[in-house]
């Protein structure tokens, strides 16, 4: 799929690999939702074109929404309130001409795939938020769309519920072509294989998720969650090797534990990072050789930017600590992080 379009101050050129989930991230107003609307046919490009699998759907020719073979999933599940859950999921297959029994069979299968097989006869009004969004996923996928468009599908859910739905979504989207607009780094990490960063209506960066998270040149991606991120390979469920000989000890995320040999992600809050001029000792800590690359005063604290084994690390310190340590650009320091402050995610 290739998308080259201009409209509403949006000027995007984006190649999306087939069979891949591409996360679209960027600040508010970057044009993320506009991008989805252009693909779905809910907005018309003023110039340029949108192609899905060699078929031009917008540009010289314009294919109406219902013939684009796209599915759209938003924050609101928008289940049809006058139909029960099964009829909601069977709606798509019926609309494109399946027989009632085929549509029903397909709907039952899709519902079971998202763990909602027992909800078939419920009314949407009687579902919890998480259940409704799962049913919406089943409904969106029941038509075998060429592209699945997801506009912050988990944003309306409680954290605990979002985790469940995130896993269901990741499982169901594997092998499909999808665009996922999100503000959550965890969504990118868990669901997407590729990521594209939009800023000011343009794609400023794109590539494989692991690669981009390892070297976020886009300021937005670096600040996406406000936490430090390290990618690497798991040596065990509590140790992530972020570079040869550089290991990070932490606690595995209960929902996404890592295991030896797996690609993993570690997150660390900048406030949890302590800096020392020499190794302070003490066994439960991670000690990482780091180099100062920048110092930014931020009101009540100072943000110190460092590199560790080629990956960026931010530490928030008091102004007093910065002065006592005599931190300056290029200085080599030791970064100490408690293992309990490191969260490790598998994939």
């Amino acid at each position: 799929m290739r998308a080259a379009l201009a409209g509403r101050g949006v000027d995007l050129t984006l190649d999306v690999a087939e069979g891949c989930v591409t996360a679209i991230v960027g600040p508010n107003g970057a044009g993320k939702t506009s991008l989805l609307h252009l693909v779905a046919g809910l907005a018309r490009p003023t110039s340029g074109s949108v192609r899905i699998a060699d078929r031009e759907v917008a540009g010289a020719t314009s294919v109406p929404v219902h013939q684009r073979r796209v599915a759209l999933l938003t924050q609101r599940p928008a289940l049809f309130p006058h139909l029960d859950v099964l009829a909601n999921v069977a709606f798509g297959p019926r609309a494109v001409g399946s027989s009632a029994s085929d549509a029903r069979t397909r709907a039952v299968a899709e519902l079971e795939a998202v763990g909602c097989g027992d909800l078939a006869s419920r009314r949407p009004q009687d579902l919890s938020g998480g259940q409704a969004q799962r049913v919406a996923i089943a409904r969106a996928l029941a038509t075998d769309p060429d592209v699945v468009l997801l506009d912050e599908p988990l944003a309306g859910l409680d954290i605990a519920v979002a985790t469940d739905v995130r896993h269901a979504l990741a499982a169901r989207l594997r092998g499909r072509t999808a665009l996922l607009v999100t503000h959550e780094l965890l969504d990118v990490w868990t669901i997407a294989e590729q990521v594209a960063v939009l800023e000011g209506g343009r794609v400023v960066e794109s590539g494989p998720v692991a690669e981009l998270l390892a070297r976020p040149t886009s300021t937005f991606l670096g600040r996406l969650s406000g936490t430090n991120l390290f990618t690497g390979t798991a040596l065990s469920d509590t140790v992530l090797q972020i570079a040869p000989g550089v290991n990070l000890h932490g606690l595995p995320d209960p929902d996404q534990p890592l295991a030896a040999g797996m690609a993993g992600l570690a997150s660390v809050q900048p406030a949890a990072v302590a800096l020392h001029l020499s190794d302070p000792g003490g066994s439960p800590r991670n000690h990482l050789a780091a180099q100062v690359t920048g110092i930014e005063p931020r009101g009540h604290y100072v943000r110190v930017n460092l590199t560790v084994a080629g990956q960026p690390l931010a530490a928030d310190l008091t102004g007093q600590a910065v002065a006592e340590l005599g931190l300056r650009h290029g200085l080599a320091v030791q970064a100490a992080i408690k293992a309990t402050q490191v969260r490790l995610y598998g994939r």
Binding site: H66, T74, H82, F91, A95, V96, Q125
Partner: protein
């Protein structure tokens, strides 16, 4: 939760309002010759008027649905000057005095008027026919349906239709299986209102359609005639109209509460 109470003195105007609204109805009921009621209501003229009213009102409601739903759909999407003009056009008959509606129809479709004359010459002579009754009723009743459905369509979020379209539903399928079912309660209450308004239609029918038993003399026209001939019959028929109206209002109230709780 206990809401802060309303001031007690409100009871005074409230009592006045209830008396004001209730007394005429109670007075009418008090005058009903209950013993003669079955005989009065089963008189051929009364039965003819009753069935004619039901027939024409049902037909009017149907025409209002067929013509009014598309109009409501279009208006609900409309923005700007044309939509405002369309909305005004659709609502003016609601507030028109009945006799004015009758005059307007007469001037438009009268046999001596250009349009009506042309229609009559082409063999469509509606003067003094049941068709004229339905035309008069539709003119004043359809706006109730349009306004009711348009309001409901406007307050329905777009994302249902968007979801349906991305699922592969053609515009017709979206309309048939999503948009219209979603506003079904409003369609039902709008249709009930239109039926009720058609049932009460008097001025336009009298001016435009005439008054002949079994053909154009609907319940209100029969009541108008019986008021001159036998006021007991007029009152008996009024009770019938009040009963039907009360039922329709109850139906409307039931539906306007909304059958689908918005998720």
């Amino acid at each position: 939760m206990i809401r802060p109470p309303l001031p007690r003195w409100l009871l005074l105007p409230v009592t006045a309002a209830v008396v004001f609204l209730g007394v005429p109805l109670v007075a009418l009921l008090a005058r009903v010759p209950w013993a003669r009621l079955p005989a009065l209501l089963s008189a051929p003229a009364a039965l003819d008027a009753f069935w004619l009213s039901l027939r024409t009102c049902a037909l009017t409601t149907l025409v209002a649905l067929v013509l009014g739903l598309p109009l409501a759909l279009l208006l609900s999407r409309g923005k700007g000057r044309w939509a405002a003009a369309g909305r005004t056009l659709a609502t003016v008959p609601m507030v028109l005095p009945p006799v004015v509606a009758g005059l307007a129809l007469l001037v438009a479709l009268g046999r001596r008027e250009p349009l009506g004359g042309w229609l009559a010459a082409s063999g469509v002579d509606v003067a003094f026919t049941t068709t004229a009754v339905v035309i008069a009723q539709t003119f004043v009743a359809m706006p109730y349906l349009v306004v009711s459905v348009e309001g409901a369509l406007r307050s329905t979020p777009d994302d249902y239709a968007i979801a349906a379209a991305t699922l592969g539903a053609s515009p017709t399928t979206v309309l048939r299986r999503v948009s219209l079912p979603l506003v079904a309660p409003a369609v039902a209450s709008g249709a009930a209102l239109a039926f009720a308004r058609a049932l009460g239609e008097f001025g336009a029918t009298l001016t435009f359609a005439g008054s002949l038993q079994g053909t154009t003399r609907t319940l209100p026209l029969e009541i108008y005639l019986q008021r001159e001939v036998d006021s007991d019959t007029a009152i008996a028929l009024s009770v019938v109209l009040i009963t039907i109206a009360a039922l329709l209002v109850a139906v409307t109230a039931r539906f306007s509460r909304g059958a689908w709780g918005q998720p």
